[in-house]
């Protein structure tokens, strides 16, 4: 629905968000910015022989800024002065304007930009002092290796041979407790998917296909792949299940709990169609409910169907969004036979989601993680599942704090994309990503070289891993296993007593 005036012309009341400033003396008219801008903001003005910009098209992706050889471009927030109002903020006014012009659901990309309390920033880590020494990871071995999968209630060892008598379920070894979140091919480009796969194998960890299937070209990275089974079952076939190392059933996602995925037809290119096994140009709809799952018993049925389909060789993970009753839900999932539970918090990212859902539904991952871990421990079933958490991990310190709150490993998504140029401009859903990340356009896709991108991502994991070792060493711990759920190494600052209780941490000074 477009509002049309009596003479048939439309006039938008929306103001530009950004202003692109081009310093004319610096500009050499090379046209690089015009070429780089995939949002049609930059243009060459043939009449005056200079570069101009259509500011209302700019999303502040900074591609032009980075690529301008003479640093002639700067981008500023457009300063439009409304009468100050803490309730009717400019973004609220803009959203209402946009909706009244289109009649549509506001759709956006990336994680929520609302000022949710970040509990990672309110937790401090412990350090060794006089009585117990810290450990220097440069000289001492430091263990970050993690095994994902169901662990037995107890281990039986044959005393004569010292061999283990207990049969273990399938275990997956990762060399660092950081994995790449589910990002489907279709949401991100094939080159980015390949980069994630390569980076995961370089770093000895795993990446996750998301719900978009797996391109045959990437089958060789199977040992480093978590394959997802979602409601649309896109690209899910026996070879796909066989090639992955872990099979993940996607129930929910932090950015859009309770709603499904929708890859618009524009992004369903020929190769996306091949990977998802659907006709080119159709919308790829994966509704929120999996229609064979209406209860924990039904979930259990799908878990066991996948175990049968893969002959009990792979752990089965269930991914949910962090919501009000995560702890009870997680308990049900563990009892339903899952080997791993992935929980994605409200700051979790997305290629496209209704803004109203992304910014208002779900809870922070810190709270969900703490309550799930506590509940599973209280019920004596924590060992039955590995806990993987996701949703806005920014630094190695966030990862360490998550492990101290009970996680086995974390998923990172946005951070991995930032490592290859993403500026979190939140226009992923347009498919016009100027950095060649969230696009299926052939020309834009070529902006990411899978080898270079993989190296950048692997570098990120390498640096975070070393920082984690330093933090462990500072705490006098030489194995990540010893930190897991070890809340005594955390102290809260600026938390209410109730928040501290839910997180299971003491306040600083206690």
């Amino acid at each position: 629905m477009i509002v049309t005036s009596h003479n048939g012309h439309t006039k938008s009341y929306l103001k530009p968000r950004f202003r692109v400033d081009i310093v004319d003396e610096r500009c050499i008219r090379c046209g690089c910015c015009v070429e780089q801008c995939s949002f049609d903001s930059m243009y060459f003005d043939t009449q005056y022989q200079r570069i101009g910009s259509t500011d209302e098209n700019c999303v502040a992706c900074h591609r032009c800024v980075v690529f301008c050889p003479t640093q002639a471009i700067t981008i500023h927030q457009m300063s439009i002065e409304y009468k100050h109002n803490d309730h009717w903020r400019p973004d609220v006014i803009e959203d209402i304007t946009r909706q009244s012009e289109t009649g549509g659901v506001l759709i956006t990309g990336m994680g929520s930009d609302k000022p949710w309390t970040c509990y990672w920033d309110k937790l401090c880590l412990n350090a060794s002092q006089v009585t117990n020494p810290s450990i220097d990871p440069l000289r001492e071995p430091m263990e970050l290796r993690t095994f994902l999968g169901r662990k037995p209630d107890r281990l039986e060892i044959d005393p004569r041979t010292m061999e283990m008598k207990t049969t273990m379920g399938p275990q997956v070894r990762i060399e660092t407790p950081i994995m790449f979140s589910a990002m489907s091919y279709g949401a991100v480009s094939l080159n980015v998917h390949e980069a994630l796969a390569r980076a995961a194998s370089l770093a000895g960890t795993l990446y996750n296909t998301g719900e978009g299937g797996l391109h045959p070209k990437l089958f060789k990275y199977g040992p480093h792949t978590i394959v997802q089974v979602a409601s649309g079952r896109f690209g899910v076939h026996p070879a796909y299940l066989d090639v992955g190392r872990i099979v993940e059933i996607k129930i929910g996602q932090g950015a859009k709990p309770g709603i499904g995925g929708h890859l618009p037809g524009e992004k369903v290119s020929a190769t996306v169609a091949t990977t998802r096994m659907i006709p080119q140009g159709t919308d790829a709809l994966s509704p929120a409910p999996q229609h064979d799952i209406y209860s924990i018993e039904d979930l259990s049925q799908l878990i066991h169907a996948l175990k049968e389909a893969t002959n009990y060789t792979k752990p089965i993970s269930v991914k949910i969004a962090a919501v009000h009753n995560s702890a009870a839900i997680a308990s049900g999932i563990a009892r339903a036979g899952a080997d791993m539970i992935a929980i994605d918090g409200i700051r979790g990212s997305t290629g496209a989601a209704p803004k109203s859902i992304r910014d208002n539904v779900g809870i922070p991952i810190e709270m969900a993680l703490a309550s799930v871990d506590a509940r599973l421990r209280a019920e004596g079933i924590r060992n039955q599942v590995s806990l993987v958490v996701a949703g806005g991990f920014r630094t190695s310190a966030d990862v360490v704090k998550a492990i101290a709150l009970g996680a086995d490993a974390v998923y990172i998504g946005t951070a991995a994309l930032i490592s290859i140029g993403c500026t979190v401009c939140q226009a992923c859903y347009t498919g016009r990503c100027a950095w060649g990340i969230t696009t299926t356009d052939d020309k834009l896709t070529k902006r990411q070289n899978p080898e270079i991108a993989a190296e950048r991502m692997a570098n990120l994991l390498h640096s975070w891993s070393h920082e984690i070792k330093e933090m462990l060493g500072a705490m006098g711990i030489n194995s990540i296993e010893s930190l897991r759920g070890n809340r005594l190494h955390l102290r809260g600052v600026g938390l209410t007593r109730a928040e501290a209780d839910i997180l299971g941490v003491r306040l600083a000074g206690e």
Binding site: Y43, N57, V59, R233, T282, D283, D292, A305
Partner: protein, 257 residues
């Protein structure tokens, strides 16, 4: 193979071993609700089931032909890739969920959400033929493939009672023998005219149905048939208002340099 008292895990392990040993035809007797039969088999083995198989019969199946000499339960052919399932009786809910290939023939009627999210790709085109009728949400979110409802169990003057047929459907085709009222159809579905290709396809499928279950193919084919197709390739194309100006009808000015 006697399935009496066997847990599905054991039963499937034995099936896997038998197929690995080169079995071409397997008779399963005393089946009592074991789930996932035929899952993880990728040969063309012929499996006959005597008794009632449990849920998710042939889930993710890739090649075998399963004949059930009784009723089947829910989730039959879930995400099936290839092969054939023939049921001499009724089947439960979500038959053929997300199936991408293969064929399912049901002699009698089926439950809710039959053919939901069925899809097709290149040569893989799943087919579901139901002799009787179906419950609500037939072909929901259907993205490809062929669903046929023959209505043979309906009495004189009785019509299909399924509601919300083809809700969210954006691909594939549904053929109903008999007619349905407009209010029974999802809003994304329309009635299309039958063509020569439709008649040829139906003739082949009904021929196969009759070969399995008996009956008079000519009488069945005399119809009348209703053909249902999606009205839109992209039913939800206009649902969204982007949050960035740049995404919503890019403003172009002056030619590029």
């Amino acid at each position: 193979m006697d399935a009496a008292g066997l847990h599905y895990k054991e039963l499937n392990a034995r099936l896997r071993n038998a197929v690995a040993a080169g079995a071409q035809r397997i008779e399963l007797v005393n089946v009592h609700g074991q789930r996932y039969i035929g899952t993880d088999l990728d040969s063309t083995v012929d499996i006959h089931i005597h008794g009632t198989p449990g849920n998710d019969l042939g889930a993710f199946m890739d090649g075998p032909r399963i004949t059930v000499h009784a009723h089947a339960q829910d989730g039959c052919g879930n995400t099936m890739n290839q092969g054939e399932i023939v049921i001499h009786g009724h089947a439960g809910d979500i038959l053929g969920l997300s199936a991408r290939g293969g064929r399912i023939f049901v002699r009698d009627s089926v439950g809710y959400r039959t053919g939901i999210h069925m899809k097709q790709y290149q040569d893989a085109r799943p087919v579901v033929v139901v002799g009787g009728t179906a419950q609500d949400f037939l072909g929901e979110y259907m993205a490809g493939g062929v669903l046929v409802l023959l209505g043979l169990t309906l009495g004189a003057g009785e019509t299909h009672r399924s509601r919300f047929i083809g809700t969210g459907m954006h691909g594939g085709v549904i053929y109903l023998r008999g007619s349905v009222e407009d209010h029974q159809l999802g809003k994304e579905v329309g009635v299309a005219k039958m063509g020569a290709e439709d008649t040829a396809l139906l003739s082949e499928l009904v021929g196969q149905y009759v070969a399995y279950f008996g009956g008079d193919a000519d009488a069945i084919l005399s119809g009348p048939f209703t053909k249902l197709v999606p009205l839109y390739l992209r039913p939800y194309g206009n649902l969204y208002a982007p949050t960035h100006r740049g995404a919503q009808g890019v403003v172009r000015r002056i030619g590029r340099g």
